[in-house]
């Protein structure tokens, strides 16, 4: 269980507070107007945004003091998820061993993760030689390989077309199911939330609200979400 207890983030004039829990294995969409603080919230959980006060717990142990890599999570950013000068194989292998010195067993598991995300045969390519969908797959292959219990997605598929995005969301769902991970995913599109996430967490008016069932929330949105959805 992920618990954000009396969380408060202050950046200049911007403030965001949160006091909520997310149960194990939940799939939570994070929605809200631009600039409301969705990325800030995810960044705080990942360890990139400092807390003004409050506590983040994962299964009853505090994680808010840990450096990003020591937290029990994998994160995908909007872009710059792959290093352009490394091959697809190395980019994915970074998730297993950041020094890129792999044992035979580790090499095999990298190849397996590539195969499971539909990238077999592309391991020697550089990111520049990949399509947008393949770049997303490579990022997801690394998430799969790391198999951390919490997956954070900061809109990594925003630049993909609708059909491709749907494919990627299904892949995310499969990976979350295989690894048993809890998912937090920022999205602008209610259809994404409906497709993948049983719950939705609204960030608006300086507050991250507790997750609510997605369908119910979208059918009867509170004023802030209603204004955003139009």
């Amino acid at each position: 269980m992920l618990a954000l207890e009396s969380l408060s983030i202050v950046q200049g004039g911007f403030r965001l507070s949160a006091d909520l829990t997310i149960r194990d294995g939940a799939r939570v969409a994070v929605m809200g107007p631009s600039g409301a603080g969705k990325s800030t919230l995810i960044g705080a959980v990942a360890g990139f945004v400092p807390l003004a006060s409050g506590v983040i717990r994962w299964n009853d142990s505090r994680i808010d003091g840990l450096p990003p890599a020591r937290r029990p999570l994998s994160i995908l950013f909007q872009d710059h998820n792959l290093l352009p000068h490394l091959s697809v194989f190395d980019n994915v292998a970074l998730g297993l061993n950041p020094d890129l010195r792999l044992s035979t067993v580790e090499r095999a598991s990298v190849l397996r993760a590539l195969a499971e995300t539909g990238l077999d045969g592309l391991e020697t390519r550089k990111p520049a030689q990949l399509s947008g969908g393949q770049i997303s797959r490579a990022g997801l292959a690394r998430v799969l390989l790391r198999a951390r219990p919490l997956m954070l997605l900061d809109e990594p598929f925003a630049a993909l077309g609708p059909a491709l995005k749907a494919t990627m969301l299904d892949l995310v769902g499969r990976i979350a199911r295989e690894t048993g991970a809890t998912l937090l995913m920022i999205t602008h599109d209610p259809a994404d939330a409906l497709r993948l996430c049983d719950q939705t967490l609204l960030v608006a008016d300086g507050r991250a609200h507790a997750p609510a069932p997605t369908r119910a929330l979208l059918d009867d949105p509170p004023p802030a979400l209603k204004a955003y959805l139009g």
Binding site: P68, A69, F77, G95, P98, D99
Partner: protein
């Protein structure tokens, strides 16, 4: 925001580099101040030198930038075979040893050069390459290409839409210049003028070879003369103080003017077809005249020097060996300085300011200061080569930092979060993220530093004696002794070494694809 602990070594290393640079600059100035506190006073000739320094730098800047306008415009809008090569060659004067260029200019425009021989054959008076016109001409030779490259940036940044708009609205040449090109030039040209002005302000080798005499002496040259001919350390120190003051004022000016970037991008965007007719003829003229001006002197030097390469005296080869040693040491120092300040500069602002501060004291000022400090301790000639290497590294540092810091900061902005999320160790971060992104600019910067060091004729003239001369000093002495055939042979050797070390270092550090 930073999520990585900075490796512990970086801060002390950067502090050490900072201490060396500050000591080199301020220490030299302090030594000079201490020594100047004597009987010595500035003579009227010294004020003439100050005026000449400023006037020649201003004229050089003005002529270079004004001439660069039609050349840059022609290169920006015409497509022809060899265009890329020509633009690349415009970067070559950076690594061209000053003496080689001067030898070329003398071969074409000197007293017994091709042009004067032609004038004489026509029964006309010979023109002189010495004095103000010679100094300015040589500076234009070096800085016209630089100005062209800077202005090309400006043309490359004019949105293609504006050019299409100009065509759609039926602008004539005059309206296009006034409404589209002129606004760009008023933004770019001041930076180009300032850059050339600053470079020419500390000109020494050009003034040494083509200037001289009461009417054409720069401050740097006056320092050298007070030092070498009168051994009047007090006066040399006073002059060094004036030169440092000029440098300080110039650095202040630099604070107001934005120096344009030298990188080029987007030169091959789709723009509407350029105007034909007269404009076409003028463009052709601008390009061919610039190419002639830049290429013919070098071609002549190479053609005349090659036959003499085989019978160069042994002392020249020894000097070449010393020059390579100096360049190697200088490049190592530069690499250390650059890496330490770049890594430290990822999270602070002061390293680049410090790198620029190396411009306050000119090479001859630093040389004079070091001489004053070292003279009571050791025979100056015994430290001539290490001192030259150190000063060369300090002088190349601002350029190196300008090449490495922006991509380093960009890389950090793009990938520091990823690195933190994956838990890369500082070593892995350096090896997997920073090094692959920085080796190309670092290779370029170090190659440039190596070539500059090979071709440098500066502080060595204060320290060097027979037995410790570098290749440029050997060449200068041959030219001074009117042994022009041997000098031309040395010029070819010097050119080959400068180009060779540039390419070697760039490829070695930058990897196979560097410069491609």
């Amino acid at each position: 925001m930073r999520w990585h602990a900075e490796p512990r070594l970086i801060k002390p290393a950067a502090a050490l580099v900072a201490a060396v640079l500050v000591l080199l600059n301020l220490g030299a100035l302090a030594a000079v101040l201490w020594r100047a506190d004597g009987e010595a006073t500035l003579q009227p000739a010294d004020w003439v030198a100050l005026r000449f320094t400023v006037v020649q730098a201003a004229l050089s800047a003005l002529v270079s930038v004004v001439l660069a306008v039609p050349v840059a415009r022609a290169l920006a809008r015409r497509r022809f075979p060899g265009r890329r090569l020509l633009i690349a060659l415009m970067g070559a004067p950076f690594i061209l040893p000053v003496l080689v260029a001067i030898a070329g200019l003398l071969a074409v425009l000197g007293r017994n050069g091709m042009v004067n021989d032609a004038l004489a054959a026509l029964g006309l008076d010979r023109v002189s390459l010495y004095g103000l016109q010679g100094v300015v001409l040589a500076h234009v030779f070096f800085n016209l290409p630089l100005s062209v490259r800077l202005l090309l940036q400006g043309w490359a940044r004019i949105p293609a839409e504006h050019l299409r708009l100009a065509q759609a609205l039926g602008f004539g040449a005059r309206a296009r210049f006034r409404l589209i090109e002129m606004p760009m030039l008023t933004r770019i040209a001041p930076g180009a003028l300032a850059a050339v002005f600053l470079i020419c302000l500390t000109s020494f080798a050009v003034a040494l070879m083509l200037g001289g005499g009461p009417a054409a002496t720069t401050l740097e040259l006056a320092i050298y003369q007070a030092f070498r001919f009168d051994f009047d350390l007090g006066r040399a120190a006073l002059l060094a103080l004036v030169q440092a003051g000029v440098g300080l004022v110039a650095l202040g000016v630099l604070g107001f003017v934005r120096l344009p970037a030298t990188r080029q991008a987007g030169l091959d965007r789709l723009a509407p077809a350029p105007p034909g007719g007269l404009a076409r003829v003028l463009d052709l003229l601008a390009i061919s005249m610039a190419a002639t001006f830049l290429l013919v002197p070098l071609g002549v030097v190479i053609a005349r020097g090659l036959p003499h390469l085989a019978d160069l005296p042994a002392s020249v080869w020894a000097a070449a060996g010393r020059s390579l040693g100096v360049a190697a040491l200088s490049t190592l120092l530069l690499a250390g300085f650059t890496v330490a300040l770049t890594l430290a500069g990822l999270r602070r602002r002061w390293p680049e300011g410090l790198g620029m501060a190396a411009l306050v004291a000119s090479p001859l000022v630093i040389g004079t200061g070091l001489f004053i400090v070292l003279n009571p301790l050791v025979a100056p000639s015994t430290v001539a080569l290490p001192v030259t290497a150190l000063v060369n590294a300090a002088m190349a540092l601002p350029f190196a930092l300008r090449a490495t810091l922006p991509p380093a900061r960009q890389t950090e902005a793009d990938f520091a979060r990823l690195s933190a999320a994956l838990g890369l160790s500082p070593g892995a971060h350096l090896r997997l993220i920073l090094w692959p992104r920085l080796r190309a600019p670092l290779g370029f910067a170090l190659g440039l530093g190596a070539a500059l060091s090979i071709g440098d004729l500066g502080v060595i003239v204060l320290f060097g004696q027979t037995g410790t001369e570098t290749l440029p000093l050997a060449m200068q002495r041959l030219m001074g002794a009117y042994r022009s055939e041997a000098a031309q042979g040395v010029a070819v050797l010097l050119l080959a070494l400068a180009l060779g070390t540039f390419v070697l270092v760039e490829r070695l550090i930058g990897g196979r694809d560097a410069g491609a």
